[in-house]
């Protein structure tokens, strides 16, 4: 019997719908509409987590993901890794798994999920490229409609949102569908495996912090960051020690 969130299979189906809807909307918001940053991992993961019943669990995933992909920017035609797709799918998979195991999203579960889904960031970038290539067809349609004297030729613009929505919605729904397997893996971890996975999550955090320093493209950044890090560690240790 696979571990499911309280409410069983019907509830899992509801979670799939929620993840598909929010994941799909985030794919649109990321580039095609508004760009008020609702699709950044630090917003999307806690938001989707909240909608599925564990906002805190979403935040556990969202912050390191945000830091890892902080430096990725869409400059002209060059595309960054798709951090939103990864954040959406990871939250969709790990939050229900945490509900099923009743552990919430802890280090081991997060590390397990990230190891499984990390390639989605690169895959999402390919998907973005493909959907942009496909938008050329929309352009051709608009051009021929305008040539025929159709004044509303440019309205095809919004149809460019359909493919990103659909692809991200499907992938996030699959994430929920895979969650019982991840929950099962987490429940079968012994003490040693849990400690090892916990360690993995700490080192992922370390890489995320390093990426965050790299994201500030300024020659003074490494020195400033180092000074600030040492100061914060020193002050904390002076006040409370390692206890």
């Amino acid at each position: 019997m696979l571990p499911l969130p309280a409410g069983g299979a019907p509830h899992l189906f509801v979670l799939m719908v929620i993840a598909a809807l929010l994941g799909g909307l985030s794919a649109i918001e990321r580039k095609g509409a508004f760009q008020v940053m609702l699709s950044r991992p630090i917003v999307l993961a806690p938001l989707l987590g909240w909608a599925m019943g564990d906002a805190q669990g979403g935040l556990v995933l969202g912050i390191p993901l945000e830091l890892l992909f902080l430096g990725g920017v869409n400059l002209g035609g060059s595309l960054p890794d798709n951090e939103s797709l990864l954040a959406g799918a990871l939250t969709a998979m790990v939050v229900p798994a945490g509900l099923a195991t009743r552990t919430g999203v802890d280090g081991p579960l997060a590390a397990l999920g990230l190891a499984l889904l990390l390639p989605l960031a690169l895959f999402g970038r390919r998907l973005d490229r493909a959907s942009e290539e496909r938008n050329t067809q929309l352009l051709e349609e608009a051009l021929s409609r305008a040539a025929r004297g159709d004044p509303s030729a440019a309205r095809v613009n919004l149809r460019g949102l359909l493919l990103p929505f659909g692809a991200a919605a499907g992938i996030c729904a699959l994430g929920v569908l895979a969650s019982p397997l991840v929950a099962l893996a987490r429940l079968n971890c012994g003490a040693l495996a849990l400690a090892a996975l916990e360690g993995s999550w700490h080192v992922v955090w370390a890489v995320a912090a390093a990426c965050a320093v790299r994201a500030i493209r300024d020659p003074r950044a490494p020195a400033l960051a180092a000074i600030c890090a040492v100061t914060v560690v020193a002050i904390t240790l002076a006040f409370r020690g390692l206890r």
């Binding site: 440019a154 360690g199 080192v203």
Partner: protein, 242 residues
């Protein structure tokens, strides 16, 4: 809502059908359509105007609002027969690249990372509230600037270049980046302390050295490989954590 309001609203979908050939052209033509509908009552003339706006266009999605506003003003002149249609095209192609560079440097490379780092650094104290820190810091700048750019573009047309230059957007960037670097340091400290407390100095040292190592190697490895290596290293040494 007036035509200008609809143009601004549609400018939010500038990149909905971003394509390699014309980049933001479809979004631009769609956004300016409500204004063209008022200026060119004859559908054939209007379709011609829309077709003109299907030419190549690319800019930063926020800064493009200024060009869109200016283009509406210039289209008014064209419709009144005061200027030839080419004036709109030259305006768009002249302002696109410099405004793109300005927007990329300020919004993508400074404001967004700094707002996100402020949220990550305050998360231990604010919990879920840190999400609001990010959204409010970012959009309290983004949305008013976008609206101001659109309004100034429409009111001043070519004069928008002066107005944007006098706003000194780029001059805040070095200060923002310094804040970002300090916040990134605080976030790194948090990762170190989280691993080290309670009573695991070995783990804290390990995380600290991993941060330095990752900082040195991430540009060559790329994020994906770096994270997989991190997961592996963590697994090996993690068994000693408890």
């Amino acid at each position: 809502m007036g035509a200008l309001g609809r143009v601004f609203l549609r400018s939010m979908f500038l990149q909905a059908a971003w394509n390699p050939r014309g980049m933001q052209n479809l979004g631009f033509a769609d956004a300016i359509s409500p204004a063209l509908a008022e200026l060119y009552p004859d559908p054939v003339e209007r379709a011609k105007a829309v077709a003109r706006h299907l030419e190549f266009f690319n800019c930063h999605p926020y800064l493009a609002a200024a060009i869109l506003g200016g283009a509406v003003r210039l289209e008014e002149r064209v419709a009144n027969g005061e200027a030839p249609p080419q004036i709109v095209s030259s305006f768009k192609s002249a302002l696109g690249p410099p405004f793109a560079a300005l927007g990329d440097g300020f919004f993508w490379l400074a404001l967004r990372p700094v707002a996100a780092l402020a949220a990550a650094a305050t998360q231990p104290f604010l919990g879920m509230g840190c999400v609001l820190v990010f959204l409010v810091l970012y959009n309290a700048v983004h949305l008013p600037v976008r609206l101001w750019l659109f309004a100034t573009g429409y009111l001043r047309a070519e004069g928008v270049v002066d107005a944007v230059a006098r706003a000194h957007m780029a001059s805040g960037t070095p200060f923002l980046k310094a804040c970002g670097a300090a916040l990134a340091g605080a976030v790194a400290a948090r990762g170190i302390l989280h691993a080290g407390i309670p009573g695991r100095p070995f783990a804290a040292l390990l995380v600290a050295s991993m941060i330095v190592l990752a900082w040195a190697t991430v540009p060559r490895l790329g994020a994906t490989r770096a994270v997989y290596i991190a997961l592996g290293v963590g697994l090996v040494v993690g068994a000693r954590f408890l």
